[in-house]
């Protein structure tokens, strides 16, 4: 790691210094293009904050409430929600963004929480399936999931609910093609898709979002 490397743009450049500058977070790393590395941005402006290895306390805004949670830099948002905050509605099924079981909303947009680092979720509004019910009160979408029997084993259901909720928020009265499109990232092994479509349509028809 201490090896001096040739800078592609001509000036001698320490790899260690670069890494030190770039270790703020994944975001900085992602923008560290050759052009940025050649310039001064990462090398001088502000003292970078280094996280990890080991745990670090962060603040997440979940369902309108600020929550403090200790995570490693590599901890996913899904693991932080489930294992640290006991919000177990979101499920890990494929662990690589292929099933939608871990869907939560980040600033209103559905994301796979298994592909989102907990640290990267700081400063964003997070919405989980737990926000759609409180005691005996529940969102009309949930009631229609029950009325249409849009579930069997139920393991994909919270992810389906969140993608459906995002669809309704975005489109109001989605047509069947839009519903298929918005749910295309979610899979169900029991085969409940048609009934989920019906639950969304029924909610939309009643003016629920």
């Amino acid at each position: 790691m201490t090896r001096e490397v040739e800078d592609p743009h001509g000036s001698a450049f320490s790899r260690r210094a670069f890494l030190k500058g770039a270790s703020v977070a994944g975001i900085a790393g992602a923008t560290a293009s050759a052009a940025t590395a050649a310039g001064k941005t990462l090398l001088g402006r502000r003292k970078p904050e280094v996280f990890g290895p080991g745990e670090h306390e962060i603040q997440l805004k979940i369902n309108g409430k600020q929550r403090l949670v200790k995570v490693e830099p590599r901890t996913t948002l899904l693991d932080a929600l489930r294992e640290r905050l006991d919000l177990t509605g979101a499920k890990q099924i494929c662990d690589r963004g292929a099933c939608g079981g871990c869907t939560v909303l980040l600033d209103g947009e559905p994301v796979n929480s298994c592909l989102t680092l907990a640290m990267d979720a700081q400063g964003h509004e997070l919405t989980t399936v737990e926000s759609l019910s409180d005691g005996d009160k529940s969102h009309p979408l949930l009631q229609n999931f029950v009325a249409c029997d849009a579930m069997q084993c139920g393991f994909c259901t919270p992810g389906m609910v969140m993608s459906s909720y995002a669809c309704l928020q975005k489109r109001g009265k989605p047509d069947r093609a839009q519903i298929r499109h918005d749910l295309a990232g979610n899979i169900c092994r029991c085969g409940t898709y048609g009934r989920i479509f019906a639950a969304i349509e029924r909610t939309a028809q009643a003016g629920g979002r």
Binding site: E83, V129, S138, Q152, T157, I187, R189
Partner: protein
């Protein structure tokens, strides 16, 4: 209840009256004269809101104070010997609390993913870090993961047919000689994984010598016995073992055993003196927890001009895991009664994980081969495929299903009259066609089980059984049966399942949970009703046998007590009854099992080879339909799973490494929202009479016909059979190139 009763059984215009011997003590059996109030209606799933809201706690969701995270270190080679196992480095890693050997040095390694060691650490990430420090040395041996390369495998030629000749068989050959049309075909399927969305796994907690386990299980009592025996065998003093499985994220046949992961989880928890959660990941699910094995089927058969089958010659080769079993494929016996036939099957072992039962084991693959063969035979003989079935299958329920289904689906109009050519009015790029297939299953239930029913003075009712509801809706079945018996609304009944401290029940396999448990649950409710009836009779001064339960009221007609007032007579301790399962009544069943018929329509894109299923219809019976909406859900789901099997699913193994190449959900495709056709399901309720409820199993039968119906629809669309599942675009393009005049 005792002695002989007359039951009116059957359905629609197909009814008969039978004299049935009912065992002493059983509840009076239901028949066609029974007027139901909640059975057979669209009752909501009682735990639906828990599931939809994310509050349902699956095994995977159990978080206990001080809980550790476990994982299994697995073999990276397919076959050989473990020569050394070094665990000390792993034990020194941060956060690690327990490391155990699963396989000792000197033992055989049997497949990629075979269990070697297990680790528990304070987070799953730290456990993964430690796993990298486990030192494993192997002596690798040559392996084979392809069943068609195994010893004893048939030689398959370039066209996909088995190259060697069948040995002669006097009867079958003789019968074929008399047939007007003779046909031969070779059919293949690939490995399908269960792909339950909740992985296999457990959470284990010891309290001294007592063990409490949350298990993603489709057999709570089986897991309990298995884990107790394994812990004792490991030398742990073991007191009580309790298993919980209140919510289970799918099983489909792969979760009957607690598995090595279950034993490892409990052992780690004991060693670490802390609770441990050990859930498998998706790669492990695809490679280590069983599958529906691949099969190669060759069929010879012949018909007379009128469509009557006269001979059936079948041989199949099943791909299996290292244990070499479970590769058989089922045949549609209902077409084959009384004809000359031969049936051969051979299982071929490979260096992979063993097959496990998967939803209707052997059936979707066997029926795919058999039903596509029949359509090919029908085409050769110039007979409509539906007529061929009707000619050879006189089963009264399925005959009605063929009639209802063909009518509803518009069979005659939907058939492509010129397979391989566009239907009139269609874009010539797309070829349309439709197909059908049959189903058959047993699922009569039986065995021993128990159920506790309680009626409390505050009017609440409980019904409890310790088996599991894996998503079929069994909890709701329990509530509905109890509500029917007591004349109250299902929502007033609290049904609890999934705790082995409650009365025993079956594993959810063979479509037997409902037919096994329903009579027990009803018996418990009926006994409770008798008890409450006595109290009400005493209160009102009327004979107990005049007390009726209906519409939330209890009494002889006039006066009637409200449910709440009746329950106030109970006192501080609830009425508590124990239901039992009487054997199935002898010679009583209207049908020993269930039937089923399915129809599918496809659109084949001749440019890309992509098959789009546009419509599907199922007509399905399951004895007395207890919950209409939930039964339909199960049928529709099975059709989707069948479509997924027909078009997409295939486990790809690298022959050189023995490793699965698509061990995830990115590359192992299962049908998703964008693939959905228009779907419909018609439930045909049949008063079956073999128990006090007459329910027969439903989980498996609707998954039998769908792949075959789709394969037949593709055949009708393009005029060439695709004899190898899944029907992927590459195979369709090859088939299209073989069209006449292509």
């Amino acid at each position: 209840m005792k002695g002989e009763v007359e039951l009116k059984l059957g359905f629609g215009s197909h009814t008969e009256t039978r004299k049935v011997e009912v065992p002493d003590g059983d509840a009076p059996p239901w028949d066609l004269n029974t007027r139901f109030t909640v059975v057979g209606t669209d009752t909501d799933r009682l735990d639906g809101m828990q599931k939809a809201s994310g509050r349902a706690k699956y095994t995977y969701d159990i978080n206990l104070p001080g809980m550790l995270y476990g994982l299994i270190v697995r073999s990276t080679i397919a076959r050989g010997k473990l020569t050394a196992l070094e665990l000390e480095e792993a034990r020194k890693m941060p956060g690690v609390r327990a490391v155990i050997a699963i396989k000792e040095a000197g033992k055989k390694v049997r497949f990629v993913g075979d269990e070697i060691a297990a680790i528990a650490a304070s987070s799953i990430d730290l456990a993964r870090d430690a796993a990298e420090k486990v030192g494993i040395t192997y002596e690798a041996e040559d392996h084979n993961v392809d069943y068609l390369q195994a010893q004893g495998a048939p030689v398959v030629d370039d066209s996909g047919s088995v190259a060697d000749d069948w040995t002669a068989h006097e009867k079958v050959d003789g019968a074929l000689g008399k047939a007007d049309v003779v046909h031969t075909g070779t059919y293949r399927t690939e490995v399908q994984t269960h792909s339950s969305l909740e992985s296999h796994g457990q959470v284990a907690r010891w309290d001294g010598d007592d063990l409490e386990v949350w298990s993603s299980s489709q057999a709570t009592f089986g897991h309990r016995g298995e884990l107790a025996a394994a812990m004792q065998a490991r030398g742990y003093k073991t007191g009580s073992v309790v298993v919980h499985a209140e919510f289970v994220g799918g099983g489909f046949g792969s979760k009957f055993s607690a598995g090595v992961e279950g034993l490892a989880c409990c052992a780690l928890a004991r060693e670490a003196q802390a609770p441990v959660k050990l859930m498998l990941n998706r790669f492990e699910e695809h490679t280590c927890t069983g599958n529906r094995p691949a099969v190669l089927i060759q069929i010879r058969g012949g018909v007379q001009k009128d469509g009557k089958l006269v001979a059936w010659d079948w041989r199949s080769f099943g791909g299996c895991g290292h244990n070499g079993g479970g590769g058989g494929a089922a045949q549609p016996d209902h077409y084959l009664g009384g004809i000359d036939q031969r049936r051969d099957h051979k299982d071929l072992a490979t260096d992979t994980d063993p097959a496990r039962p998967m939803r209707a084991p052997g059936h979707p693959q066997g029926y795919f081969g058999a039903e596509l063969f029949l359509d090919e035979l029908a085409m050769k003989a110039g007979i409509d495929p539906l007529e061929l079935r009707q000619k050879n299958d006189k089963q009264v329920i399925r005959s009605e299903q063929w009639r209802m289904g063909a009518d509803k689906f518009g069979w005659q109009k939907a058939r492509n009259p010129k397979p391989g050519s566009p239907m009139p009015g269609d874009d010539p790029r797309f070829l349309r066609g439709c197909g059908l297939a049959s189903a058959r299953w047993g699922g009569m239930g039986g065995g021993q089980s128990g159920c506790t029913c309680r009626i409390h003075a505050d009017g609440t009712v409980e019904t409890r059984n310790g088996a599991q509801d894996i998503g079929t809706g069994m909890k709701t079945v329990m509530a509905v049966l109890t509500a029917e018996e007591l004349g109250i609304a299902p929502a007033m009944v609290k049904a609890t399942m999934g705790h082995t401290n409650d009365p025993s029940g079956p594993g959810s396999g063979g479509s037997t949970t409902t037919p096994s448990l329903a009579p027990t649950v009803r018996h418990a409710a009926w006994l409770a009703r008798l008890e409450l009836g006595k109290l009400v009779a005493k209160q009102l001064g009327v004979p107990a046998e005049t007390v009726k339960f209906a519409g939330g009221k209890v009494g002889p007609g006039a006066p009637m007590l409200s449910w709440d007032d009746a329950c106030k007579l109970i006192g501080p301790n609830p009425i508590e009854t124990q239901g039992k399962r009487f054997p199935n009544y002898k010679d009583a069943a209207f049908n020993n099992g269930v039937c089923g018929a399915q129809f599918a329509e496809v659109l084949v894109d001749t440019w890309t080879g992509i098959v789009k299923v546009t419509r599907m219809l199922a007509v399905q019976d399951c004895g007395v339909v207890l919950l209409k909406k939930l039964a339909e859900s199960q049928v529709l789901g099975a059709m989707i799973q069948g479509m997924s099997y027909a078009l997409h699913e295939q486990r790809l193994l690298d022959r050189r490494s023995g490793r699965m190449l698509n061990g995830d959900f990115n590359n192992y495709k299962i049908a998703g929202p964008a693939d959905m056709p228009e779907m419909e399901c018609i439930m045909l309720s049949v008063a079956n009479g073999h128990t006090n409820t007459g329910a027969v199993g439903l989980g498996e039968p609707p998954s039998v016909a769908a792949p075959a119906a789709i394969a037949n629809a593709v055949f009708n669309a393009i005029g060439v059979p695709v004899r190898h599942l899944p029907i992927t675009p590459d195979k369709v393009l090859v088939a299209l190139s073989q069209r006449k005049g292509a």
